[in-house]
Symmetry: C2
Subunit: 211 residues, 2 copies
DNA sequence: TCCACTTTAAACCGATTGGTTCAGTTTCGA
DNA sequence: TCGAAACTGAACCAATCGGTTTAAAGTGGA
């Protein structure tokens, strides 16, 4: 009974091809942007007729926003990897830097970033959604850890939000810029390790305890 | 004679309204992106007939690239503000951070960044052009200063390029992200000073000499 | 098996697009 | 002042766009 009710509530969202359509929309929108994507292309990519597509969505705009919001919340839950709140900073920071960089440089993140940035004045809510589900969420998580680390006397920080932002920025150092402009999209472990080492060392030079 | 010859060489680029057209193109392209901009809009914004416009440019694409390249080199020469190579790091870094942040947050930089990012796979050369005239140029200049500062024994740095990138990233800390997503576009002096202080302090904690 | 519902392909719509053409006006150097 | 070159405005083109319609073909639960 619960199960049945749940299923009924889970996809009363009209027909069965709803997700299928959104998948096609994601493919085309992330590849070509909002204006660049044609509805016919989306229908083709989704393996669905245009009529079906328009039975789910009133127009192209809400199709786009719905897809973007889904991808943002996906991104959020993908970044939901837990930080070991009890481990020492040197270890946690290194681990977090690696994850952060891998996410930042991923094809998916790059594409959704581009679309959000490009379309953020045509769709004002979009920039906010991406910011909340990406940078803001990451910062909150890192700041949380830093607070606990300070409580244990492992770091000396006053402005936790700033510190968290600084760490995230340090992780980008050139890698992200090169990727986002399409200058480079494959990075060796050495290149990445160089940035991770630099980020962790610099961060701890400022906030770590003198030994 | 020299003058005449120079003028003839300076704008043999067909008619007199060349720059006028590029100005209009910039206005519309930076506002609406490549696909979003219509050639009629550009002609209207430039105060020029569509026929004239197409006498200068074979099509919309080269119009876009030509405009983008001009704006990139403009950006480069705008950032050409000199660093006082002899001043102490604490002062130079603070000054540079202020300039960097002001440039990064300017409406113009934001717009051209958005366009370059959005269009960087439709126009592969574009990402490179922006990167060269912006981030790469800034890094080179900062790295140059850091090298001289090290020669004077004022800093302890091994990887100058990484250090320069780190400094630039530290200056972004949240401000830039919020701006680029349209979440905030006006920043108080206090908000900016907080980031500048943080960037300089963190950078010098790592690379400054222990006193 | 039947029936209500969903999906389909394709034709179709008006609007807009990038781009062309052309007859007429403006501009400007010599 | 004259004439070539630059510029104009508007009409025009084929193509594509977002979106609608329709008649027929699946689909699945009772």
């Amino acid at each position: 009974m619960n199960i049945i009710a749940e299923q009924r509530r889970a996809k009363p969202r009209k027909g069965r091809k709803y997700d299928q359509v959104l998948d096609g929309a994601r493919e085309v929108f992330l590849l070509s942007g909002f204006e660049g994507a044609s509805v016919d292309d989306i229908a083709r990519a989704a393996g669905v007729s245009k009529a079906t597509l328009y039975s789910y969505f009133p127009d192209k705009r809400v199709m786009f926003t719905e897809m973007a919001e889904r991808e943002c919340s996906r991104q959020a839950s993908a970044a939901l990897q837990v930080i070991d709140m009890t481990a020492p900073p040197a270890l946690v920071l290194r681990q977090t830097a690696g994850r952060l960089i891998r996410i930042m440089l991923s094809d998916f993140s790059q594409r959704i970033f581009r679309v959000c940035v490009a379309e953020s004045d045509r769709f004002p809510e979009l920039g906010q959604a991406f910011y909340d589900s990406g940078p803001a969420l990451g910062r909150a998580r890192i700041a949380d850890y830093l607070r606990q680390a300070k409580a244990r006397g492992e770091v000396a920080i006053e402005d936790f939000e700033l510190a968290a932002d600084q760490f995230a920025e340090l992780c980008k150092a050139d890698l992200w810029t090169r990727a986002v402009f399409g200058i480079q999209n494959r990075f060796s472990d050495e290149e990445i390790d160089r940035v991770i080492d630099g980020a962790v060392t610099t961060f701890l030079a400022r906030y770590g305890l003198r030994d």
